[in-house]
Symmetry: C2
Subunit: 340 residues, 2 copies
């Protein structure tokens, strides 16, 4: 039996989704993949809890009752706790900060320094410091996986890494933000204003209280930066992206586009020359990218040998995102196992 021990930082929606997933599917992974996933540390912004084989159910209970795992552990910060814990993979799930990448960036660099692998759903560190993180990881021979950073449950990075090894991807284009796409879909089908469509999305838990990262295009820009670095080999950061959001878009513009055979989509695009942009685009209705509705995401990859490949899936959702994180964890466990 292979064993992989996790240190999880961040117990927001995705972190809690991961705990539920551990609780429900851990035995199955052991049977099906011969991998035992153990939890040896958890941390949130107020403290950390370290133990030999923490019970994810108990972690959820402590977090819910006390608001922090410090209640069962102590007030050590995550960086300090990482030094004391016995783990194989850091799972970094703190909120995205696209200015500094913090606190995720420090957590990730610390894990690498300690010679531990990293799985993250946090776009910030990779959007501001992809190259720095990857160089550090290469020096310490550790694996960094980040499938959940672009499009929740829509597989992209691992798809290219594992199934398109023989080809060159020439460009990447797609709808990468489920909140924006939901808003645009509502504006189009019901003639709602941006504000009304947003309020609807918020009431359904699709948009956050402050949706500006989504609406202004920065979330899509983060994803484009990570895709460009990872798949196209373009070294870039969030500062290199030409970003226009949908904040000024009117229902009239959408209606007129619609009458002329187009849909307006917030498109992220990157090519091998390093042209990176996020922009509301008129997409012909016959284009598969125009056809993705609601919270679904889609990516189109143009390749040299395999033609055009599309992949589409749910862009967000705690369990969907947690499942992408868990696939990365299991993938690392198979590559770099601790056998007991």
């Amino acid at each position: 039996m292979r064993v992989v021990r996790l240190f999880v930082i961040g117990l927001g929606a995705v972190g809690r989704g991961l705990m539920r997933l551990l609780r429900e599917k851990r035995d199955q992974y052991a049977r099906r993949l011969n991998v035992r996933v153990e939890l040896t540390g958890v941390a949130d912004s107020r403290g950390a809890w370290i133990g030999e084989d923490l019970d994810p159910e108990e972690v959820l209970r402590v977090k819910e009752r006390h608001g922090t795992v410090a209640a069962a552990g102590d007030e050590r910060d995550a960086l300090e706790a990482m030094e004391d814990a016995d783990f194989d993979v850091l799972v970094e799930l703190t909120p995205t900060d696209i200015e500094t990448g913090e606190p995720g960036l420090s957590h990730i660099l610390k894990a690498i320094e300690l010679g531990r692998h990293v799985v993250t759903a946090n776009k910030g560190p990779l959007a501001v410091a992809y190259d720095r993180i990857m160089r550090a990881a290469e020096r310490r021979d550790v694996i960094i996986r980040y499938e959940a950073t672009a499009g929740g449950a829509m597989p992209v990075f691992n798809l290219v890494r594992e199934t398109l090894k023989s080809v060159d991807v020439l460009s990447i284009e797609g709808v990468l933000n489920g909140t924006v796409n939901y808003v645009l879909t509502r504006m189009e089908t019901e003639g709602l204003s941006l504000d009304d469509a947003l309020a609807d999305a918020q009431s359904r838990g699709i948009a956050e209280a402050d949706p500006s990262m989504d609406i202004e295009g920065w979330d899509t820009a983060c994803k484009i930066v990570i895709l460009a670095n990872s798949i196209l080999g373009v070294r870039c950061t969030i500062d290199d992206v030409d970003v226009t959001g949908i904040e000024d878009l009117t229902p009239e513009a959408i209606r007129i586009a619609n009458e002329r055979g187009y849909r307006i989509k917030l498109i992220g695009r990157a090519d091998r020359d390093g042209d990176l942009l996020v922009r509301p685009c008129l997409v012909p209705k016959s284009d598969p990218i125009a056809r993705v509705r609601g919270v679904m995401n889609v990516v189109r990859l143009e390749t040299d040998l395999a033609g055009t490949i599309y992949v589409s899936g749910r862009g967000a959702g705690p369990l969907e995102t947690a499942s992408a994180v868990m696939s990365d964890i299991l993938s690392i466990a198979e590559r770099s196992p601790t056998t007991r």
Copy 2:
């Protein structure tokens, strides 16, 4: 540098595509992935050619000039030649036979017996003997990869294996035959009869001279069997599939469906209960599966945690298929390298 030595059986369109790909991209794989791909044997139905590091360019030239590589090698059959050759991976590219799986089945079992990994684009062996092949492979601890068997350049098997490890796929459904989909698209958009649409597909090299495997649904059935075994864990063979083709479909049926908001697609479907079917279905135009046009394929995967995932790509084409074969080869090379 890791080295992987290939023995390639079958020099039809895909085999020749693989030779071209080797010629053009081999140096790039060495640089990018640190894997050197060598060719130490090739065979066709008339003979075999074994050598230390065969030149794919030269293989193409001999094959074109003489119709067989026996002209440079000898008339040994492939099974015998495999015993004499020094190779790591058998690449099985002979034509599909869905009655017996031969000659591919014997080639694959021989390679396993010799302790060699296998990459195949031949649907026959897996459609008639998936379980037998996989058990044999497990006993000898060799890897079997077959991405090209379902949908050419559309990644499915490796997508699930590598990127959806954490989830359970509950059902698989899709358009899996580019020829049929092209014919249906032409019948719909131009009101052609099946025969006229087929003649058009043949004139463009999309349909084979004898298109019955495609039109009668057997090609799709093979793919469903391999998908069901590989992804759903359903042990089945081609005999377990309920198959109806499009041979009796009229332009009128398509027109009437169209007027009522449907497209007719040849759908392959499998679920965890082992229900396997291939059938022309009325698909609502709003369904992403209805929207795939011409030679494109699409697969919809329903999962327990990651929601619905779609993947779409070109279903056929010699270079596209060869690229899927090459991705499998490179993937094996990374997992089980011979280092020199």
